[in-house]
Amino acid sequence: MAKRIDVSDLNVYYGDFKAVEDVTMTVEPRSVTAFIGSSGCGKSTFLRTLNRMHEVTPGARVQGKVMLDNLDVYDHSVDPVSVRREIGMVFQRANPFPTMSIYDNVIAGAKLNNQRMSKSRSDEIVERSLRDANLWEEVKDRLNKPGAGLSGGQQQRLCIARATAVEPAVLLMDEPCSALDPISTLAIEDLIAKLKENYTIVIVTHNMQQAARVSDRTAFFNLAGTGQPGRLIEMGDTNKIFTKPDKKETENYITGRFG
């Protein structure tokens, strides 16, 4: 199920603007990898290159190599659609489908792909995914109401349920908890801890405690300066990064003395 991601010498561009430079890293299977770093340093951009969502932006392109186990994700013969079926994603801003009910939003992955499944099977998937995302109790009586009628935090949990419902091998989460209350955040963290038994998880977060709590490995990104591309400064075991990082920059950022 879970797969390893190997990135080598990756450069990411928006048109002529180089947003991320020269990243080489390995994301281990059955573990949680956290990306931390200051705003605008390219965490989201880099994350989106992993499942080929980056190229959806007009003018955006990627140089370098991303391997999913033995598959070169950017090989010419690889269909980005099938890559995205393997590598799911939760976005920074909640984006439930406004035309669909809560129920349909959760099984949107199957529904939009015209997959047939029995009613009992889809009921089961919906309940499991919503329970995992700590949303079931709140919405179980109104599954047929529109997903856009939920609060911002509920919508985000709905999006998480939607992403896990298709059971991807890798789950990319871009600040999934930035709109959530502490209780839901804890629930999501529990979910992450549970999911990592079977999946590979990458999470972007601005919350140091969260990174320390949930992740096994941490990658720190930073900008060389304004207008410069973001770089991977250091990556290692979360314990090590948070206690004795190799680089001064990392230590400054983690202790809140970055500038």
Partner: protein, 369 residues
């Protein structure tokens, strides 16, 4: 806008000293003041004109408006402050402009209703002009209603797929030169005079079927030429309103692009798309010139077959009736009545369309599931 919660000049006496000394206090005209002032102005203006013996609604309205604007601005400047005076002046001007814009519309509608109702009844709606000679107090508009429905219906069936798919191409797939060219030509097409669209189809028909062939299909194609660019334009706007995040959400679930468009983008935009299409339809339903050229104006009988002979439509019917108004005696009077009644029918058909558009967009809009 004044709100009821703010203290009025008289009501603040209780806690007056506190509020007044706080620097936030300003005297204010009572809420009912503008309305009362307007009534006073109108009364004074109509009284004056009445005494002069020259009462007419237009000058009375003009004097009322000017009087009101001057009075409300000065009294506000005196009692309140400069900012409020300006606010009241501009509010008044905006209301005046609104009234000026609405008056012709109401006048037009009421004229059509008043004149049209003479002949507008079930009989008029349910018979054609077959065998009716000008001096007969008979005949109706049924064949024109049928013709209008068939022609505009066909035009919609032709334009909507072409227009919608063009819009989808431009918004979702189009890149570079080709996209620019399409957008440019759609803009050019929007500006095509309707008579030219009619001529185009006449020329096409002569090429294909030989001269002298007029029928409903030709009319429908002429209307499509006018309708397609409007459909493209409005659909483009609606598709652009669909947030990119929804497309990305679908992509991230491994949904291919075409399925994303069919199952996420179009359903999200469906209310706006429908409204746009119905507005485009309302825009072409009153076209006369291209239909005279392409569908003919000789038909007096009910003809629902678009490929067999002339087809009457409501606007052409009105045009014909207006031309017959020149006939002497009863015939001219009947023709005039028919023209107004048909105009009323056409307006009602268009209003029905708009009502449908409203209902459809209400029921289809997302989040009302």
């Amino acid at each position: 806008m004044t709100t009821a919660t703010q203290p009025t000049a008289t009501g603040s006496s209780g806690e007056g000293p506190d509020i007044q000394s706080s620097g936030l206090y300003s005297r204010q005209l009572p809420t009912y003041f503008p309305a009362a002032l307007l009534v006073v102005c109108a009364a004074v203006a109509s009284g004056a004109f009445f005494l002069l013996g020259a009462f007419h609604p237009v000058p009375v309205a003009a004097v009322t408006a000017i009087g009101y604007l001057v009075a409300v601005t000065t009294s506000s400047a005196v009692v309140e402050n400069n900012r409020r005076a300006k606010d009241r002046l501009v509010t008044g001007v905006v209301y005046c402009c609104f009234a000026i814009a609405v008056v012709p519309l109401i006048s037009l509608l009421s004229t059509v209703v008043v004149f049209g109702i003479e002949r507008f009844d079930l009989y008029f709606l349910s018979v054609s002009m077959n065998g009716v000679i000008p001096s007969m107090d008979a005949g109706g508009v049924y064949h024109a209603i049928v013709g209008t429905l068939v022609i505009t219906g066909l035009a919609t069936v032709i334009s909507v797929p072409i227009g919608l798919m063009t819009a989808v191409y431009v918004v979702e797939y189009g890149r570079g030169r080709l996209k620019q060219a399409i957008t440019f030509f759609v803009d050019v097409m929007t500006g095509i005079p309707s008579i030219v669209a009619g001529l185009f189809v006449v020329a096409l028909w002569i090429m294909v079927f030989g001269p002298g062939q007029t029928n409903g299909l030709a009319g429908a194609i002429a209307l499509s030429v006018l309708m397609i660019p409007v459909v493209v334009r409005s659909s483009e706007e609606m598709l652009r309103l669909v947030p990119n995040e929804l497309r990305e959400a679908a992509y991230a679930l491994g949904v291919p692009k075409w399925l994303t468009i069919v199952k996420v983008v179009l359903p999200t935009a469906v209310a706006g798309l429908t409204t746009g299409i119905i507005l485009a339809l309302a825009r072409v339903i009153g076209e006369t010139a291209p239909l005279i050229l392409t569908a003919g104006m000789a038909s007096t009988r009910i003809n629902a077959n678009p490929v067999e002979g002339d087809m009457m439509s409501l606007p052409v019917y009105i045009y014909k009736a207006v031309r017959d108004m020149g006939l002497s005696g009863e015939a001219g009077v009947y023709a005039e009545e028919r023209a107004w009644a048909a105009a009323l029918t056409l307006i009602l058909v268009v209003m029905l369309l708009f009502l449908t558009a409203r209902l459809v967009s209400r029921f289809l809009s997302p989040g009302k599931g």
